[in-house]
């Protein structure tokens, strides 16, 4: 398919089918009502909202298409894009060259700064630099660049990755580990929901060293779907990192946790 061009809705408008987990606030979450501008999830009575949905809405609007959100488990997203079940996966995916073997990515639609999430009462909470985290027991999410960043902590004991965020939080809270490496939005949400946790940020030169590519979050689309890539990139090119952060702040404010 050529990206929303071939499937028409009743209104005759093009349809942009976007997949996400709807279980990863503040990027994307599901809620019972349309409050605040959430979009109905296809084939269910739930509504999806979050940073990804906000971006998706912008993209759909600019392409003059109707937005259709599909709720798919993480592992199903890539096959869904490859097989054409959805046009794009907007789900906080990191752009890596290896993944580009299977799917195409648009320009980044967010830059995810890497931070540490720790227990408030633990020594790690006082860390001023990555070096201060020395000897921590750490883990992160499966298939993220954050998991690789753990290696920068000196003498770190690295546990196997965990494949979902809540699982990670449980591990931290139970004391099985005392350091989680993740991005700011996730850490903020987690700290919000769990008052005993806190997010530790570092000055630029003392934080986790990342290349520009490491923090790029992109939209996955089917390989060779140039038309859709161009359409999306046109919109994304018009936005700056500041714009992204503004939208993210709005998403963080709007997430159910914040109420």
């Amino acid at each position: 398919g050529c990206g929303g061009g071939d499937k028409k809705a009743d209104s005759g408008k093009k349809v942009l089918k976007v997949g996400m987990e709807c279980a990863y606030a503040p990027y994307n979450w599901s809620q019972p009502s349309a409050d605040g501008g959430a979009v109905k999830i296809a084939g269910s009575n739930e509504y999806a909202y979050g940073y990804d949905v906000m971006i998706a809405k912008k993209l759909a609007d600019s392409m003059g298409a109707d937005l259709e959100i599909h709720k798919i488990e993480w592992d199903g997203l890539a096959p869904a894009v490859v097989s054409g079940k959805i046009d794009a996966a907007i789900a906080g995916m990191s752009i890596t060259s290896k993944r580009k073997e299977s799917v195409d990515f648009t320009k980044p639609y967010y830059y995810a700064t890497v931070v540490a999430l720790v227990k408030k009462d633990s020594p790690q909470a006082q860390a001023k630099s990555v070096a201060d985290l020395k000897g921590s027991i750490a883990t992160s999410q499966l298939n993220t660049i954050w998991y690789d960043q753990i290696d920068q902590v000196p003498d770190v004991k690295k546990l196997p990755a965990i494949d979902n965020v809540p699982g990670m939080i449980v591990a931290l809270k139970s004391g099985k580990c005392n350091l989680i490496v993740t991005d700011i939005p996730t850490a903020k949400a987690a700290a919000f929901a769990n008052p005993d946790l806190t997010m530790v940020t570092f000055p630029e030169d003392k934080g986790f060293k990342t290349s520009k590519e490491d923090v790029e979050i992109g939209i996955a689309i089917k390989k060779g779907n140039k038309e859709l890539a161009d359409a999306m990139n046109k919109v994304l090119s018009g936005m700056t990192e500041a714009d992204f952060n503004k939208i993210m702040d709005e998403a963080i404010k709007k997430q159910p946790l914040a109420k």
Partner: protein, 264 residues
């Protein structure tokens, strides 16, 4: 925002109660329909697997039946031997990319659960058929029934009764195992609760609710099936139409009833 564990449970129940319930309905639907169709598949496969080959059957028929049986053997082994999540992905996304068949997630879900249950039930049904006293089959043949009639009227009703407990087990397993179908965007109970957990970052609270819902479903299912079993066994007593003249002349000889299990 609530402070305590149960405070959160109540709060989440208010927020996500209906979503979880809907997820539970999908789960139940998938499990029940899948188990049902799976049983039918299992039944058919089981019957084909037990087709007797006579010495005087034509060579064509023999090869045909043999081939079919080997094929079904392969089906059973492959689908029992690989994880359902992979089966789901292959069926749903594979059909789309290879044959451009765009089936709905729920349909794919039914398909996968049915095929999977079918593979498990096939073995069970075969066991059930083989556990029916061979004398039953002989008697049916001796009054002139053919293979189909024998199976339909005599063997299968008895085999099914033997298979009921296993069927119940399968239903329970399916209620829990449909959770893998969220990779093909079927929002069943587990996925629903996972997204609730992903929004509030409250794992134990949500899963406490989910477990209770699962437990209610599986418990109800298993009790219902036990009840069904006892129902299938029919009434323990029967009505004599009138007095039996051939009964013992010395009077009170009770009919041999099934003795209750002895205690010693």
């Amino acid at each position: 925002m609530p402070e305590t564990f149960f405070g959160w449970v109540v709060y989440l129940l208010q927020q996500y109660g209906s979503v979880l319930l809907k997820g539970a309905v999908v789960t139940l639907l998938l499990a029940v329909v899948g188990t049902f169709i799976g049983c039918i598949i299992g039944l058919i496969v089981g019957v084909i697997q037990t087709i007797p080959l006579e010495d005087n059957d034509s060579k064509v028929k023999r090869t045909l039946v043999r081939c079919l049986q080997r094929l079904l053997d392969a089906y059973v082994e492959v689908f029992r031997g690989t994880p359902m999540i992979v089966q789901a992905m292959v069926v749903y996304y594979g059909a789309m990319s290879l044959f451009d068949i765009d089936m709905s997630p729920l349909f794919a879900g039914f398909l996968v659960v049915s095929i999977n249950t079918g593979a498990y039930m096939a073995e069970t049904v075969r066991g059930g058929i083989e556990s029916v006293d061979p004398g039953q089959k002989e008697a049916a043949i001796a009054i002139g029934m053919d293979h189909i009639q024998t199976m339909r009227c005599v063997i299968l009703p008895q085999a099914l009764r033997n298979v009921m407990p296993q069927l119940g087990n399968n239903l329970i397993i399916n209620i829990k195992d449909t959770s893998v179908l969220n990779v093909i965007s079927v929002t069943e109970l587990y996925f629903a609760s996972k997204s609730a957990a992903g929004v509030y970052y409250k794992y134990f609270e949500i899963f406490f609710i989910t477990c209770v819902i699962y437990f209610i479903m599986t418990f109800t299912a298993s009790r219902l099936l036990r009840w069904l079993e006892s129902k299938m066994d029919g009434p323990k007593d029967y009505q004599l139409v009138t007095y039996d003249p051939m009964m013992d002349p010395c009077g009170d000889i009770p009919l041999p009833t099934k003795k209750p299990k002895g205690r010693y």
